[in-house]
Symmetry: C2
Subunit: 352 residues, 2 copies
DNA sequence: CTGAAAGCGCTAACAT
DNA sequence: ATGTTAGCGCTTTCAG
């Protein structure tokens, strides 16, 4: 006798699952009829339909998804990869509010559409996904010419990712309007009187950051302002905060009067760094952060943030994916999501 | 003609996938033989086996997982839920280094065992998982008497979670030795000369925190030291740091000489808070943090951390799960993972 | 308006 | 040692 059974639980009788045929027999109907009744297909008399449903409910029938999928030819499974540094991929990845939300909303939206999202850690080999029958794969942050993307396309699996794959057949994208975001933020700071804005941004080769550099350069040229930018080696609170400190150190030049951080960093940490360097926010320094971090609302003053809207990206991506998978829609191959500037006290010049 | 085809990509010929029977025909063998050859089963002559394999490889054969699963009666799918605050579940959840690692390692380990991990966001309804044919579900942080757990067990799906489910038939657990962890940390501080340690811990009703309280109380009683504890309302850097500040404010009592934080908080932030309050670490104050945060190694001094070892928990959990699923092992129902104290300069009294 | 039968792709008895 | 066949549970023509 096992410990569990002595505790009074059932000895776990390997309940032979109720199948469609069992329901049919019990209800005195055929498999076909019950199937049609439950799926709302076919033309059945209301009474028969109700009887089938009632019996199924009573017997606790739950359709076998695997059999359905085999029949349907699609497994309703979506892979979710991050094409990232192999070292500590998920740790650095999921810890960011942006990716955490992207991941969660992708899973939730897909589930609502009847698709399950399968986590594919970057460390895992492609060979391990081989026997997974994925209908499609979402690549959450591809590197340039990502081999993962290429492998999937070669295997005939549709890929959904960011704009870096534009033009590849079978690859679809949803992306954020990075250039627009930078312009909106800088325009806002300019309107509030900023004339020496400094930008802090990770020094990476991703398309997103490349667009940020370019947009910043153009904006500065257009406004006849000097291009002040600090590039930090990697994402993460600590490096970014150091970058902020570097940006705020005048180094002989005039002190900046506005700060735009295009990297996720804890808002309170950034504010504190500014204060440490003798800036009063927003009096001496206007601050805008690209961040999804909710603590931005809790600081004193609350911090203006530019949201990349991971929720919107995830939803658009899944809708697009479902459209391609279910209706064979191949156009458009991309969707651009607008960012959102949430103006708060940190970037509003007081009573000008 | 579509945009894609004009770009020179194949017009995406809906490649009729290569099936087992196709390989068999091509190789002049039967399905059985090819199947046996590829799966390493049966007794086949080496030449035939190699021929089958070679043909399969050449034709780019990839077995249809859905058909296999239907045949096998199991879908090799594992659900992964977090039984948490419904509001912003994944955001707060995945952002923590602990959970991010737990999640990533769970997925990677399962995949290596041939199981796919499906994300089930807390906001999603049980009805949405109904037709998912999950072989088992991992509940990553159940609340007391979690209704999710109960629903799954009622549906006959094995559940893997933490020790709070001990005794429920069909529920298995892997947990961290919270009480042992507290003792190890406090013993270490005591050895280093601490006599007025203060503990900061979230004020929650989870089993983990309850155990922490109890272990702390016992330890203090056993050592005849006053029980100094600060409970913070919620996890998250900001509240925890405020808790630390409260803990370090003497308030008429003697200043503490050691600090144990049992909540994930950014190590540099905690150190800074200590300095702000006039403590030199480790001279005036020994510091130990329960954390997986890698920045603990980068501070000055590096911070001693107590790791709850999410990687080990995830691996043990998956191994246990696989054992139950594949070999029907029902005992033991639980595994306890030891924590690990990584002693660094922040908790070593200098040259005593 | 309902039921019998075929078949999705694969594996494992069983027969040769 | 290899091939034939049945069947996993479901949906869907196609007869009745």
């Amino acid at each position: 006798m096992t410990e569990a059974s002595r505790h009074g639980g059932q000895p776990s009788p390997p309940t032979p699952r109720v199948r469609l045929v069992d329901v049919a027999r019990e209800a005195g109907l055929s498999k076909t009829t019950v199937s049609a009744a439950l799926n709302g297909t076919g033309r059945l008399s209301p009474e028969v339909r109700e009887k089938a449903r009632e019996t199924a409910r009573r017997m606790g029938y739950r359709p076998n998804a695997t059999a359905r999928h085999l029949r349907a030819g699609r497994a309703r499974l979506i892979g979710y990869v991050v094409g990232e540094f192999a070292a500590t991929p998920w740790a650095t990845f999921l810890e960011s509010p942006y990716f955490a939300r992207l991941t969660g909303v992708t899973a939730a939206t897909a589930l609502r559409r009847g698709y399950a999202v399968v986590l594919l850690p970057a460390g895992s080999l492609q060979s391990e996904w081989a026997d997974l029958s994925l209908d499609a794969v979402v690549v959450a942050d591809p590197v340039a010419d990502d081999p993962v993307v290429e492998g999937l396309l070669a295997a005939g699996i549709p890929v959904f990712t960011d704009r870096s794959v534009e033009g590849l057949p079978g690859a679809y994208w949803v992306d954020v309007d990075a250039a627009g975001a930078v312009r909106v933020a800088l325009d806002h700071l300019h309107e509030q009187g900023a004339r020496r804005p400094v930008v802090v941004v990770p020094d990476s080769t991703t398309r997103f950051h490349a667009e940020v550099y370019a947009a910043h350069r153009e904006w500065c040229a257009a406004h006849g302002l000097p291009e002040r930018v600090v590039r930090v080696g990697e994402p993460g609170d600590a490096p970014v905060v150091r970058g902020v400190e570097a940006a705020l150190t005048a180094d002989g030049r005039e002190r900046p009067d506005a700060l735009l951080v295009v990297a996720e960093a804890s808002p309170p940490l950034v504010l504190e760094a500014a204060r440490r360097h003798g800036y009063a926010v927003p009096d001496d320094l206007l601050v805008v952060l690209v961040s999804e971090d909710a603590t931005a609302l809790l600081t004193d003053p609350p911090v203006t943030t530019l949201s990349l809207r991971p929720e919107a990206i995830a939803e658009a991506g899944v809708e697009h994916l479902v459209a391609v998978l279910e209706h064979g829609r191949r156009e458009p191959t991309g969707t651009l999501v607008e960012t959102r500037l949430d103006v708060r006290a940190s970037s509003v010049r007081p009573s000008s």
